[in-house]
Point group: C2
Chain length 337, copies 2
């Protein structure tokens, strides 16, 4: 959107002989100042040719010696101790939650399933019964089991949004440029000790099942076997359908994800505005699930959490203006008066 | 930073008769197109006067009918069910953690303090002893107890970074345009039932202690009494100093915050690069604290988590390029060749 605006601006301005004006604001201060010096050094060009090049470019050129800027959300998720603490907190909680469940079952107690049953609601959820099915925990993959550092670094460098073709390439080839989410390996250890199966439910494509399974196995998160401990887009239409297929074989005692859709597709009903999703999460029943069968991981970088216009995110009732009002603009220079 | 670049660009370009070029890219597509139509309609101006006004303006004008855009990090923290789930998860965990501690103490068991003792380290932390001091939990305020919707909406509208003067005004007057962080009221309830004191330790200024106390009390988070259950910047030099002052009066069994500095100032040692902070958080001892005495809340909007250049956030070992490489840019038009 901002990019589109820029290219439009660039083109229109170029026809007025101001093509260079479009460059600095996008490419950042360093490039901007350099570009302007450069422009002043050479005699004014016609503008139009530059504009055509701008319009044809997939990305604005970046000098090779300038490191790409990193969006704040990526600094936070991939670089901060704060986000690492959130992940450790979620997974320490999951590990603690698992301990004792097999003991409960071994003395004949019922063990609670956390998969919302078909036809159920978020207001009055019922859960797929466990019966005597073997215990399992279900994990999303992206930004839940692995941090996709390689793909996101490329995205930061491009400075653009999601690129489906690039993501498909990433699923196929990006097996080593990842990091395991902090704390997960401890949960896997506990699951092994407690004889609880580890199952992955992801929207990655089934077309790359082999590569995804290899990645998980190489990271020590496996064994990932498609259709048993690894469920991907194509195995079933949606995550709920896959959850129900998994819950037909296992007693799912815990689920972990970075998106509400990793717990129930009901959170993604088209009718739900962001404010309604927030209320649904904090509902009388659903609020009790967080850290108690459902374990949320942080992800401000992409996904269903990045929605909402100004009035949705900041309800009008919360509007505020400072008092005293900020200082007035400095007077115009004398020659202007 | 981007703003500064823009103003520089605006000025320099203005002297080249291109002042209008600076407007569209900042103010967005709508304004951009309007401004350009406008510019084309009137005969070319000298540019310079416009440029001086741009330099003098505190903010670029925004048409009243255009809603400000909301940064992704704000959509996530203030608008998403995902972030609400993270907060509920942290506070459900804290509530569960509290239950039983008073019982332990009443039967003569030691209760663990979570305040790292002076002179201790993150690698081998020792904690301020509890003795028979009354139990307390310590909360940060901003983005831990309250979501500062009014201030952040204003920040989103301004499209600028932190403004100390505006924040001071906010501490003084922004008492009602806030929301309590999801799940906190349940923790307060449990604390009251268990007779555990609720103490706030914030970097808000002691100059606004009365307004901050009134806000907390109005929200049902009090009683907040400065120097006893409310500690602010000015009461002691740093958060550790205030923590130790609090721990001298109370047995602090849990702490909650959105920044690592809400748990120990050791995380903010100048020598610690973001990667080292991440390692410190996941250390052999510290990793055990998350969700087990230390409770982290999400905040990708501001703070010590938003640091790190490209190579720090994305270690070179994680570099990835897609294969096959993306299509080459479309050829230049014939007249260009």
């Amino acid at each position: 959107m901002a990019r589109a605006t820029l290219v439009l601006a660039a083109a229109t301005l170029a026809l007025q002989g101001c093509a260079a004006a479009a460059i600095p604001v996008v490419a950042g201060g360093f490039v901007g100042q350099k570009a302007l010096k450069h422009r002043k050094a050479r005699k004014p060009d016609r503008g139009a040719p530059t504009a055509y090049r701008l319009l044809d470019l997939k990305e604005l050129p970046r000098p090779t010696n300038a490191a790409p800027t990193v969006p704040a959300s990526m600094q936070y998720l991939y670089g901060s101790g704060e986000a690492a603490a959130l992940s450790l907190q979620a997974y320490m909680g999951l590990a603690n939650y698992l301990v004792g469940l097999p003991a409960d079952r071994s003395i004949g107690h019922d063990v609670p399933s956390v998969v919302i049953a078909p036809g159920s609601t978020l207001e009055a959820p019922t859960f797929v019964p466990c019966g005597k099915k073997p215990l399992a925990i279900v994990f999303d993959i992206d930004e839940t089991a692995v941090l996709n550092l390689g793909y996101e670094a490329d995205a930061a460098r491009r400075g653009e949004g999601f690129d489906a073709q690039r993501w498909a390439d990433w699923e196929r080839t990006g097996r080593t440029q990842v990091a395991v989410v902090p704390g997960l390996l401890d949960v896997i250890k506990v699951a092994r000790i407690e004889n609880i199966a580890v199952v992955f439910n992801s929207n990655r494509s089934v077309a790359h099942a082999a590569e995804t399974a290899a990645m998980l196995n190489d990271l020590g998160l496996g064994p990932a076997v498609e259709g048993r401990t690894l469920w991907l887009q194509g195995d079933e239409s949606g995550k709920d359908a896959r959850r129900w297929a998994i819950a037909a074989k296992y007693c799912v005692v815990a689920m972990s994800g970075d998106q509400l859709g990793d717990f129930s597709d009901l959170f993604n009903a088209p009718a739900l505005l962001p404010s309604a999703r927030r209320e649904a999460v904090a509902g009388r029943k659903t609020s009790l699930m967080w850290g108690h069968g459902w374990f949320m991981l942080p992800n401000p970088v992409y996904g269903t959490g990045l929605k909402g216009d100004f009035d949705t995110v900041f309800p009008p009732a919360t509007r505020w203006v400072p008092t005293p009002t900020p200082a007035a603009p400095t007077p115009l220079p004398a020659k202007e008066k």
